[in-house]
Amino acid sequence: MDAVSDSEEAERGFEGRLTPRAGAAISLRGVHKRFGEITAVDGLDLEVPSGVCFGLLGPNGAGKSTTMRMLTAQALADTGEISVLGYELPRESKQSRLEMGVVPQLDNLDVELTCRQILTVFARLYRVPRPQRTAAVDRALAIANLSHRADTIVRELSGGMRRRLLVARGLIHRPRLVLLDEPTVGLDPQVRQELWTLIDGLRAGGVTVLMSTHYIEEAERLADTVAVMSAGRIIAQGTPAELVREHAGEEVVEVYGPPDTLARVAALAADSGWSSRRSGPAVAIMRAETLDGGAPQGVRRPANLEDAFVALTGEEIE
């Protein structure tokens, strides 16, 4: 967290990071992870309280997936401390895995098995006692809305159904913590909506959710708290509204025009010290409400999480 000053830390509620709060579902402190020359995670401090939906937002390559893999001990940190559900990793990782569910980014379903067979295998792996296994499988099928496809082979399912089955597989044992790695990547908008409903239902049921995403809208809609990750560390954290207010202000003015106009506006913004970014065919100037009429003419709109994200990471998304 070297990049964040002490005062900023205090504002963002980081003060508790050195002593894990009671009831923190996940806590990472000073975690580094290198792959050869590449530093994937670079001094990560993160605390996920119990019972919230926590969004880990960052561009591709920010280290989100590596962080997720470290939480299941499928990647081991070079330095730093990680605890999940009160268990210390990697030593007690098997115990923590027993009590949490994981929905991976990449589809790793057995294509030759039926939905029911896959869920039954995982019910065993998660030690669901034999008398409860059938009920657990039926319940997971119902959550994923796949009861009518229980005996269909995975190869014959649509992409959306496969993704729902992946979620069901991670919930077979009623975990109290669920890790979702890019849960809706590559899905069409309707399927995405369905999954959002499902994730929101989990949180409503008291399950702690840690979700990595690079879709701003996903984080904005679902997450109680969002941590922005860039280059292997957290650079900002707060509710979506706090992040927007803090990093993009209240309003944004978007100036449209031909390329030379846009270049002129961008130069003006730079000279005047305004925070701005290219936004498709326009230049967007942040904190328009503070410019006191000095801003160029354009379309005014409320600031959003994407503005804050770009202001923070300097990177466009999507």
């Binding site: 295998v121 409860q132 119902a142």
Partner: protein
């Protein structure tokens, strides 16, 4: 989407059904059984093809070598050629039904289907995952290793109570070669590299094991190499058991097979483990 199914089921106090009370340890039977239950489910789709080839292959060997060679050489030592080949081909069947699944299934499930990634996110560790996979392959190899004897009986091999030991011998041998296959999969960069192992390692192992001809006819140097071939020890043990000739030498053969199995088991875990966990 009926997300409510979860929230209403879980109520305001979600918690694992199996979790909190259960403590997990090392090499747990529940984890091994869970991993193997997947193999069993997959096997349910393929057992016909596997059974077909396990019967047809020794039949072809017996026809080709038995009728071909057998016409020229009626006996090898004091054995008829059918006795010699039918018992020898057990080791071939065990080798092929353990080394190949060890190599191909491991590589496909690990690299292409990412099944192992999914399982390692559950409370299963690398040691359990690999042990269960090897255990499953070797159980299957032990059972299918009987096929050549069954076929041999139709060619005139006499049933013998010692044949009941053959699945056990096949299991131990298969355990070693499954571990060998997993180790190969762990170090191979691509699936094409398996060709090196198949042609340069498995083919000589399978030919120079006393399966089709006795190694005593080989030059001393080659013979010494053949004698460290675990498959040679499997052939000898199977032959002695099936023909009711078990003797003190067979303890040595059994010891070699057990040592090979243990060595390959640990090697498979350390090699694949290194690559499954970043």
């Amino acid at each position: 989407m009926s997300a409510s199914a979860h929230s209403s089921g879980a109520g305001s106090q979600p918690g694992p059904q199996a979790g909190a009370a259960a403590r997990v340890g090392r090499l747990e039977p529940a984890a091994l059984a869970g991993v193997m239950s997947r193999d069993v489910a997959i096997f349910g789709r393929y057992w016909r093809a596997t059974t077909f080839s396990s019967i047809v292959q020794p039949t072809i060997y017996l026809l080709a070598f038995g009728l071909g060679f057998g016409a020229l050489y009626h006996r090898v030592g004091h054995l008829t050629y059918v006795q010699y080949v039918a018992t020898g081909v057990v080791a071939t069947a065990v080798l092929f039904s353990s080394a190949f699944p060890g190599m191909f299934n491991t590589f496909i499930r690990w690299q292409f289907q990412r099944t192992y990634d999914a399982m390692l996110a559950a409370p299963v560790d690398v040691e359990e995952l690999i042990t269960a996979e090897i255990l499953w392959i070797s159980l299957r190899a032990g059972v299918y290793g009987m096929a050549p004897l069954v076929v041999g009986i139709f060619f005139g091999l006499e049933p013998n109570p010692g044949m009941l030991l053959v699945p056990l011998i096949g299991f131990v041998t298969g355990f070693g070669f499954a571990g060998f296959g997993v180790t190969v999969a762990a170090v191979a960069k691509t699936i094409d590299n398996f060709n090196y192992i198949t042609s340069a390692v498995l083919t000589p192992l399978f030919l120079v094991a006393g399966t089709f001809f006795p190694i005593s006819t080989l030059p001393a140097g080659l013979r010494a190499i053949a004698e460290i071939n675990p498959l040679y020890h499997c052939v000898q043990l199977v032959r002695d058991a099936s023909l009711g000739h078990l003797g003190p030498y067979d303890l040595g053969h059994a010891a070699v097979l057990i040592a090979f199995a243990l060595l390959m088991w640990r090697l498979a875990i350390s090699q694949l483990g290194r690559r499954l966990i970043d």
